[in-house]
Amino acid sequence: MNITLNRGVALATLLFASAVTGTAHGLAPSDAKRVFNQRCTACHSFGRGVKVGPDLKGVTGRRKRPWLLSFIRSSQGVIKAGDPVASDLFKRFKGQRMPDWTDLSEKQIGDILDWLAANGPEQKEPDERHAEVATAEDLQLARALFSGETRLANGGLACASCHTLRGAGLAGGSLGPDLSDAYVRYRDRALTMFLKRPCSQRTPERAEYLTPQESFSLKAYMRRASLGEVAESGKEPGK
């Protein structure tokens, strides 16, 4: 009785959480990662073994797409229909009931499955890569973004409006701190985290101020400046 009640509470909590945070209708395919993290990772891992439910690594190879779609939409429906694989899973995972994600469209579920098939959860975002692996193209992009020659994808103000960077060409602004030694001071990981948010309140007011690629390029550019290697042209020394 208690177990049933607890499962009911857990299910209700999950459904409530999805109602508050999910708003799955109209999600773009690129949001597969976000939906997966919001709805699946509480019970499933990807390549890290069993949690509450099975490890999802390779699931798109183990099961057919129509079966996965039906199971994600209504696991109990598939079990009650007498599907042997679903019944076996239900028994193996101690009767844990998976929430019915009926609010996700076929396309949205398809996008998540595509992302899993491409080992999406194991892929690093571009900005999480170490700055030392940046190419000359990344640095060239960063130089243009920093000076404002190329506009930031989300419409933000160019870094040089407020900041200076040693050897970056255009005399930078002096409202914000000089970023020439920022990389040495904060190091790769802290800078990655820092660049995820705008450094001051300003327009456009949005959480994603820089795209991961822009963030990575700028981090690499700051690294070069910290090491005293930013040439006027933004090209790597010796190239």
Partner: protein
Amino acid sequence: MKTRFLFELLPYGATGLLVVGLAIRFAISGRGAADLNDQIERARQVFRGGRIWRFAVLVLLVAHLLALLVPAQVVVWSQVPLRLYLLEGIGLLVGTLVLVGCSGAIGRHLEQSQGSRAAAVAEAAFLAATLVAVLSGLLTALFYRWGSRWSAAILTPYLASLLRGRPNAGYITQMPFLVQLHVVATCLALAILPFTGLATLLVAAADRALGWVARPSGVAGRWAQGWLRRHNPAAWIWPEED
């Protein structure tokens, strides 16, 4: 509390005082024409200044207005380094001219002995607030480079939030002291303006502008009156009375 007062309430209070004060000054300006002429003359002595100063003030006001109305275009235009340096250089030059002119106005105000004591105090306060506003603006441009760019993303949204009636002081509280001083001093100057001789000049200018606007309608009215007299409709409405 201090933040709310300075950056959320003061701008509205100052604008309210400016609008109501100027409206009252305009409404009572018709009384005592001789006295008004004296006031205008006294105000001219203090505020008129040289042609260059008046031009610099105009450029400064227009530049601030453009930054408020078309911030994105200003940023895009100044993307080219040469344009940015030109814009900021002209801004510094114009700001310096306004500062010099403002100092001159303070000197002329101190030399002037006529007028009421209250008006003299208001004028001194206005000139002091204006001087602080101009000086802090100039120092901001010097010490916090590329104000023409960062102000578009930080100060313009603050002003826009005031205009929308949902003030967001968060934009301004993160700024250096000089920028905050610039905003507060400007608000104070606007609040005091209706009590100064400059208001007399503005009211006189508005009166003259209204006269120009009214002139064509007066001409049209006189022409319509003459036309009606010549083509009196009574003649065909009541022909027997002809």
